[in-house]
Symmetry: D4
Subunit: 243 residues, 8 copies
């Protein structure tokens, strides 16, 4: 999986699809070509980051013969109007084609979060994992006041190839999980919180400073990035193909 | 308890005591007078903060008819040479007179820390609590990887009037403790850690952002301040005297 | 009191109540169940933090068989339409059921603020205190230019079990109050101010750096958190129940 | 692997070993006991973080029946004087017992760095990997001006179970490596640089913001943490033991 | 080229032009006069920065007998309605008069960017270069995953007088380009990205800390500033005129 | 002059005035009473800061028997509809009553700014100075590229009692002015600029770090505060009245 | 008064004076010449800032026909050995010639500080004021816990031409003083404190955000700068000379 | 010119040279080989950055067949003992071989600084320029209080191919210079100053935010980097050689 920026093309392609000026097959061909024809991207994700004007909102979309993240309701409407087999997950702000789901033989990937406020980021991770054919194991009930609940899921997490832990505010959960299991942990700080939470920076710094064994961290709210890293981890070296 | 700055006087007084030019009784009288003769400070702590030149090291000393914090070995030697009943706690960098310990009838005050690296701050808190006559209940074995151990001490902490939780790095411990007990929690971030720990800022921000119920926070490494707040909490309103 | 995140459920529950599809009793049962059936939460607050997308606004709601904070006019309308005994405090952005107010035998809790700009946070604290059965003592007239007025309320504050001091901008008020009384002080920085106020960070840092005796601090604008901590403080250790 | 803080014990144990008051076998027994007798730590690393006073220097030591990181020359002398089979790596500031090296059947772990200035952190990672029985594959010649050299090692890195990339200053290397290979990448920012490098924060932020596919990040200069995460990744889920 | 602030005048002039109350020739005369009649500005750019209220959006416009940057659709409409020979580049948010393009005999100026998300800033630079008569050489296909592509354009860049490199997120591209060519490089960080990207600060710090040879940096998103610097560089000392 | 917060009252009073439910005389009486009847505020300014919700916009109003700062068009309409002798300065976002202007015998107060983008802040200062009876001497034509122009106004500034210098971006102007004149300089950083300007922080830090002789600084965009300080400076000690 | 950097020359001049190679008269001539012969500096201060390598310590010296600030004991020894009429103030780290003190007919200048920890900065201000012939009125007993004491000195401060208020930690004192008096206040934050004090930044931000009437701020620990500003304020416009 | 890190090798090579174990010719061969034999580096600079442990001091050395920057007295002694034709510039902390100075036919390069406190950085730039054969034109007398002096050197600077402006504290000088001349300006912020100067960050941010025409910026104290960029600028595109 790799990432390219093609928001401009994406918008016009989607618009054309929505307007009936462009068929889905042709759209996918265009999306692949937008990647520059670079061989080893062909079957890959395309990660569209566009944050023109910094703070005013952005769209980040990823296509794996159709997976789009950070899609809002407006994007979803346009896509659904044009493409029959597509589904929209409003919580995770994610669009994906149903007929393209792959299935990989591998250990499951744990996705743990503290509560419903971190749900969107956790679901972005879980759905991405699912789309590329891995098996997400969701545990969304591990709140700050119920850290001891993690003991109940310890065995299940230890059977995972990798565990993603999503947490906002003080970001304590990854340290706790990593202390109880022996699998690699990818921590995702979220922008949940206010004041001293500094838009997710407090959680990010805490996760990095925590020095818990086997924990590594991705950017704030980057559920997609965590999923990509987890799936790489979950694929044995000998099984990856290198064109 | 209140705080005044009198490092200058303190140094010359200690030097004179060490040199035999000044008796202890007289020293204590001078220390009281240094407070400006302000009535309601008389039986109180004197908190000496002196951080001239910011980062180059500092001394913070507190006297309750003799309690001094942030005293290094050199300070200790001078004081011990001059004052027979004084003891020095190297870990907590704390000096205190043995014959002045008071005893207050009150619930114990819990002091919880994650490990030996936070010990100095935890001991500064515990010894301060002890000196003003309250009863510290130490629990220093609650590491990041053993957060579940806190369940073993839950009942003991619930019997405390207040619980101080000392933690560095990601500062997760106070949230966990506060989620398990019903007593007020005072969190003390420590400057333990490096890189993203930002000298204690990551722990401080995490503790504030954590929004755990009943948790409030003091400055980085401020074990003394936490102890003063805890003892105020641990003293019923009707029992405090107001000159 | 503890906190869980259940914005999703909350929204659908409130929507159903507003639409007449759900009775209040059933709503409360669902709200309790949303907490996961965890025993020691049953009679407790539920704190809903949801700041999806960081800066774009958020809702934080707390239910004690009905107390909701950070409720805007739209939330209020929906709730009032559905629940007869509910009242909305627009200043404090707080919703609560009238018939559920408890009464606890305890010292009053002081709530001091600098002026009307900090009013919303102070009222969030005061109404929370009131709802859980404690007795808030409001002093909202202690401006920057009238710090000497605090001397007039000194005796009253010294009779409180605990004093919450709400202040924005330079955050000087808690230090001043704590220097005059002998009760524990919980400082709440507010996001009032602009430029160097840095959205409340200047007040937060000042309160922590101030090292005033007996002061501890909660997150910016967190009037609810301060109230929870104050009520814990104000409840003697022997009186708290530990399931 | 997990981490505990036991600097105090460590110091007295090492001192006693150095003074001949304590045999090595007994020292190791004590070191194991210091961990609290917690079963699943027994054969594990012990990570000693002690940064009392924040900026003034610190020691972080890790024992795997003897592996110590962040050991300075003085620590090394004491250990070598007492323990015959120990070796000191001055560059990596790492002490380890020679007779305890394990051998695990697994893919190699790549360790890539930009130059000799990042060498200490890269070696801390590589030696840790080696000590726990995995096979580090060092590539230390990939400078800023020679990023194209990475193409020469691409095949070798793709055969690794995981690749650690160590980089200071702008932290560009992990993005570049991750764009060329399909294995998981753990990025380690280093404190190399001055001014706008902000002691490693620029590299850290860049690595997180880079959004390169499959990259996750650990704390600044934390070669040990990266190694622990890499070895967890490099051990298939079914092969980890869970006591 | 130099910069003056004259938003007020600009707005009323544009409004008058749009309303037909003012002819273009007169408008240009007024715009020149607004510069204060200062001789050496006469044939120069006028750089209008107006960010009243900091974060809420701004207009920065530059006139060279008509070049305006940071013009939104509304500005464009007004200008186009009034001035026949004007064209609007929506991507670059740039307005310019077609009949005023100059042509300078000089080496081309390279403009390199990582992808379409940085396109707006790159185009702001390229169109500015073009307008003042220099020759921009665009290379917008050099993504994070295709840094090796830069080798394909190396010869072309080495023939440029100066190369502008636009990059967001981790800001790695300028270091890589500067390591491969021998011409001066001006790096432009962009505000693309979220979380740890800190609105472009991560890229900015990385570019400065990178210490790549021959790289200097301008403000975040400042494509215009980079173009002005590049054109100064691209004009030999003897050819510049000094009134 | 002093400041109180009374946004709540202010809004209802203005609304009532606008709705004809309240006469102006009564409104002013209420506004005076809102100050709490505190004697030494009676003839003074009332400074209304209200930034509830931090970044979402705010109103700061100051009344000197009617002076209001940070009034937007909506506020202005309401006030003008109700109060005949009031004028609104849109640039400075300032409302004031015409019949209340005082005249003080004193040296003029210089108000210098770099350009039209800093105009709003400069005008807030100048109009405040004028309203309390002092004589502002405006110099708004001193741009970054025309710092030498300040030599032309040097004599005029040296005749002022005090000089306010308003500057955004790098904040260089106050240092330059203070180096050329012998009068006290009050520097006002503005939030003009983007990226590295950090909403005015770059200018603020530069002005403080500049160490130019006789310069002191007020908060970002605080033209009113600078005016109040300047008028205090411009009033000889013996002439101030102390109730 | 103005400032130039001439540490290099200063060091060699002082060394030569200390070694007897240079007479005092000649040294002063050289010091004046070092200023570049610029007319309007001749009778003025020379402010030497030298902080090569940022954090490693620095010397800042000011000469008014001999006044030197930030002089350490080593500088003092050298100067005293060479110049008979010189005195060294260790607290304020200030050297000055006794025979050069001037006397100006003006109101006194108040210098207020919170305690002995801020003494060095307060004395740097007071001695500078004294040296240029103004009359400092010291009030060093206004601690955090005794803010009400300021009421006792209110009348005295209101008779001053200007009041300097020195405060560390939360920086509350200037707001309080400015609320009680009608004279201009110059606030000096100090680097006293630790943790959240951030080396004086918390005090600095608080003073700026405080928005107290008539307060302006200088750099952290800049007692000299405050004194220069205060003396400019304290000199009526008509009395300043402009060469 | 490009940069590699080879501190380790450098140290052993220098040590061997100093000990007579290695001849100079052989040392230079080794230094060239250390670069990896990469063709286009052969005749180039080698930039050695080594800041192990961030704040504790570092060495950055650059060799152009011998040019070393950031060399302290100890480094100098070793080098001088071993290499006869070498000279040490203590102010600029720079070592260079005398017999290797080249001469290039090109316009001069201006080096402007505010005063002696910025001298070290300015000299690092000037000596680097000189060593690679370009002609530095030093102007070190342009202080904050004498910005108008720059008018006297305007003509001289306009004849330069490029102008480096070194400035600490508020970093105003580059904006002023760039406003007066038409040549490209490279700004170098220095770490001179204290408090709000934030170790050079205030100057850095100011220079970037200043938006002066034709200015670009390098890292704090990076005189060498500015010189390398300036020499690239000063070499016409057609004259650079591309192996």
């Amino acid at each position: 999986m790799t990432s390219v920026d093609l928001t401009g093309e994406l918008n016009s392609i989607l618009t054309d699809v929505a307007a009936g000026r462009l068929g889905i097959g042709e759209a996918l061909r265009l999306l692949q070509r937008a990647d520059g024809g670079n061989g080893h991207h062909r079957a890959a994700f395309m990660n569209l980051d566009h944050a023109r004007n910094g703070r005013t909102g952005f769209i980040e979309a990823v296509y794996c013969e159709l997976l789009a993240t950070r899609a809002n309701a407006r994007h979803a409407e346009a896509a659904i109007a044009a493409i029959p087999d597509i589904e929209y997950h409003a919580d995770a702000r994610l669009l994906r084609r149903l007929d393209l789901k792959r299935k990989v033989i591998a250990a499951p990937v744990g996705v743990v979060s503290a509560g419903t406020s971190d749900l969107a980021v956790a679901e972005e991770a879980a759905l991405t994992i699912e789309t590329v054919g891995h098996d997400p194991r969701r545990h969304y009930d591990v709140g700050v006041a119920g850290l001891h609940r993690v003991t109940g899921i310890r065995e299940d997490l230890n059977r995972c190839g990798c565990v993603i832990v999503v947490a906002g505010m003080e970001g304590a959960l990854p340290s706790v999980v990593a202390g109880l299991i022996s699998r690699p942990v990818i921590a995702v700080p979220t922008s949940v919180g206010y004041g001293a939470a500094l838009g997710g920076l407090a959680a990010l710094l805490g996760m990095l400073a925590g020095c818990a064994p086997g924990v590594s961290v991705v950017n704030i709210d980057n559920g997609f990035g965590a999923a990509v890293a987890a799936c790489r981890i979950n694929t044995p070296a000998e099984r990856t193909s290198h064109e």
